[in-house]
């Protein structure tokens, strides 16, 4: 099953674009599921149907097109709870669909969502160790003092195994070649700036982007109107800028329609306009990924980090992990055993690729 995430700053038309892709793919004969993981759901509004958040069964909205809004109120902890539910549904639908489109929360939270498996599998392990340590030590006494019994170690063991397996599986799934992220932008400065940051952050976690969708472009006829002339020119400039910054990613052009795009038929037509001759389910660009390479007496770790800035980049090595921080995001990249024993001898950022050299310290 092809898995495509749509992300972008809130309000850029992410949900509409995701739904249009899904509707068009379904019209092209792909069995398609569109999922919304945005806590402020609007997928139902865009499709023109009422999606019941109480169910985890997708609603058939058109031939070959199912939709589901992930419930965000099932637990006290809406964010993580919702994601768990969504993961479950994702795995359950394996095999039924050719294509799964995920309409994510705005950029910041989306990164949380997609980076969660990695962070969480480490965090869960840690948390469980802490709780287990406390519970093993405290329980015998606590049972006497505290009326509420603390859970025994066997409970933690089960949760540990369950969560770990599920999250590890998802992480693997996200790294597969048929998973991509598409960033939706509008021709606005703030939106583009955030998209650039998001692209770096996604790359840090090895999530491959395969396209950028430039939304709400004024068609020639609209840009010809006096008031909108300068906006039209500005849009042309921004489009060129986005094409250059994000190259080699293709930039798909989504025209502003004459009215709000609502309902499956309108969405499918909008999707056809966005993709022109391209296949909405295809991997539109194969981006380079993290690579370990052998050099003269040393190893190189090559991590593509498009648009990363040197002054906002931090690299360190700790035991079996390489720590990389870009701006506000950071990641511990696990190293193969052979490399874990080596020391950090150098790092450089060149043409959007971070190269870290590991060798025997002199």
């Amino acid at each position: 099953m092809r898995l495509v995430f749509y992300t972008g700053k809130g309000g850029v038309g992410k949900t509409t674009t995701a739904a249009a892709t899904a509707a068009y793919a379904a019209a092209c004969g792909r069995r398609t599921l569109v999922l919304s993981a945005d806590p402020a759901h609007s997928l139902g509004d865009v499709l023109g149907v009422r999606l019941d958040q109480k169910t985890t069964t997708p609603l058939r909205v058109a031939p070959g097109l199912d939709a589901l809004e992930v419930d965000s109120r099932a637990t006290l902890d809406p964010h993580w709870g919702a994601i768990r539910d969504y993961l479950v549904s994702l795995f359950r639908h394996q095999g039924i669909y050719d294509l799964c489109i995920v309409d994510c929360a705005p950029t910041g939270s989306t990164l949380r969502l997609v980076t969660l498996p990695e962070v969480a599998s480490r965090a869960v392990k840690l948390l469980l160790r802490v709780q287990r340590a406390v519970a093993t030590l405290v329980s015998p006494v606590a049972r006497v003092v505290v009326p509420v019994p603390l859970p025994g170690p066997e409970v933690f063991r089960d949760i540990d195994r369950m969560l770990y397996e599920r999250l590890a599986k998802l992480r693997e799934r996200l790294l597969e070649a048929d998973t991509s992220v598409r960033i939706v932008v509008t021709p606005e400065r703030m939106v583009i700036d955030e998209a650039l940051r998001a692209h770096t952050d996604l790359a840090l976690f090895e999530l491959a982007c395969d396209a950028v969708v430039m939304n709400r472009l004024y068609p020639a006829e609209a840009a010809a109107e006096a008031f909108f002339e300068s906006w039209g020119r500005l849009q042309e400039e921004r489009l060129a800028e986005v094409e250059e910054s994000f190259a080699p990613l293709p930039v798909l052009r989504a025209p502003l329609a004459r009215e709000e795009v609502v309902g499956v038929a309108a969405l499918a037509a909008h999707g056809a306009a966005i993709f022109a001759d391209a296949d909405p389910a295809a991997v539109l660009c194969v981006a380079p990924r993290l690579r370990f390479a052998r050099g003269k007496g040393e190893y190189r770790v090559e991590l593509p980090l498009p648009h990363a800035r040197k002054d906002a980049l931090d690299v360190a090595k700790l035991d079996d992990a390489l720590l990389v921080r870009t701006g506000n995001r950071r990641r511990a990249i696990p190293l193969p055993r052979k490399l874990a024993a080596l020391a950090l001898v150098g790092a450089k950022l060149d043409a959007g690729v971070l190269t870290v050299r590991l060798g025997t310290p002199r």
Partner: protein, 384 residues
Amino acid sequence: MRVVLLTGKGGVGKTTLSAATALGAAAHGHRVFLLSTDPAHSVGDALGRPVGGRPVEVAPNVVAQEIAVLDEIERSWAPIQAWLRQLLREGADELVAEEILVFPGLEELVALRAIREVEALGDFDTCVVDCAPTGSTLRMLRFPDALAVFMGGLFDMERRAARIVKPILDRIGVHGLVPGDEVFAAFERLVRDVDDVRQILLDGDRTTARLVTNAARVVVDETRRSFAYLSLYGVATDAVLVNRLLPPTAQDGFFAKWVAREQTEIAALESAFGVPLLRAGLRPAEPIGPDALRALAREVYGDRDPAAILHHGRPLRWRRVGAKTLLEIALPNVSKEEIEVAVHGADLHLRVRDARRAIALPDSLVGRVIEGAQLRGATLVVTW
């Protein structure tokens, strides 16, 4: 200190209008702090100059800051992290120890705590807050209730247990595994911070929210939802700001249907809230930099002081009528079927669609049965 929270679906121009509100208030003689709590900071983009984690003067009488959440957390959670680290003793997992403490909702909380710090500076009479997009803002508002329950229950229990266990463990030589008092103290500080932030947010005499919206259906629907939720959580909304309205000249060309749609949506907005509806037209170019933002503020607020409370209305009110106690909650734009009311212990649990809230009951009502709950117009009345 007056606190103005600007929130709304992302991309509607919330940051631009926050910056405009701050500059407009300064033009009315206020000393203004402009605070961005949206993790995707863009205040700098709107002002056309860099703004970072440290307060920086961006115009006369306007200081701006983008909260660096990770740094803030590091600062206030040091004892807890130290404890976790001691447990781990593996360097590589330090990162995780930090990550784990950034539990959902904490980022927003830490960000909002900055409001209190601005107030403590004493140099500002107005704080304009550019909040995260609607979803997270609402989560954050619910958070104080959830945290109190969580902390109150869990940590009291563990602490009592730890007090008794720790001396024994110390004697037999197991150190560091049971959190010391400084860890609990850090948690308690957090609970207190939460409480302070909540006091500020719920004080309708100084804090109001402004919802930024566009006249497009999907956005308007969400704005109506947000309005109901804010009111449910007890935050007063004093204005709705409709941004980027198409110019009158657009009604004859390509944008004709968009203009017609806008008019329908404006009509819906006007009847929906009962608070002033302020408008900003689409500009011929992006409003970036102080001058453009001041002009925008003049268009939105006219002669009004952007720092003033533009509408007075109490979203939540307790009343005594004879032997009965009434709780009135303004809940516009919801229907009876979307509301659930129940008493759990000392709290009234209220659910409106997918938002929940626990309202602490006055002592006199704890243990008493609700006589009824009725939706009268746009007001939910719960009677004991």
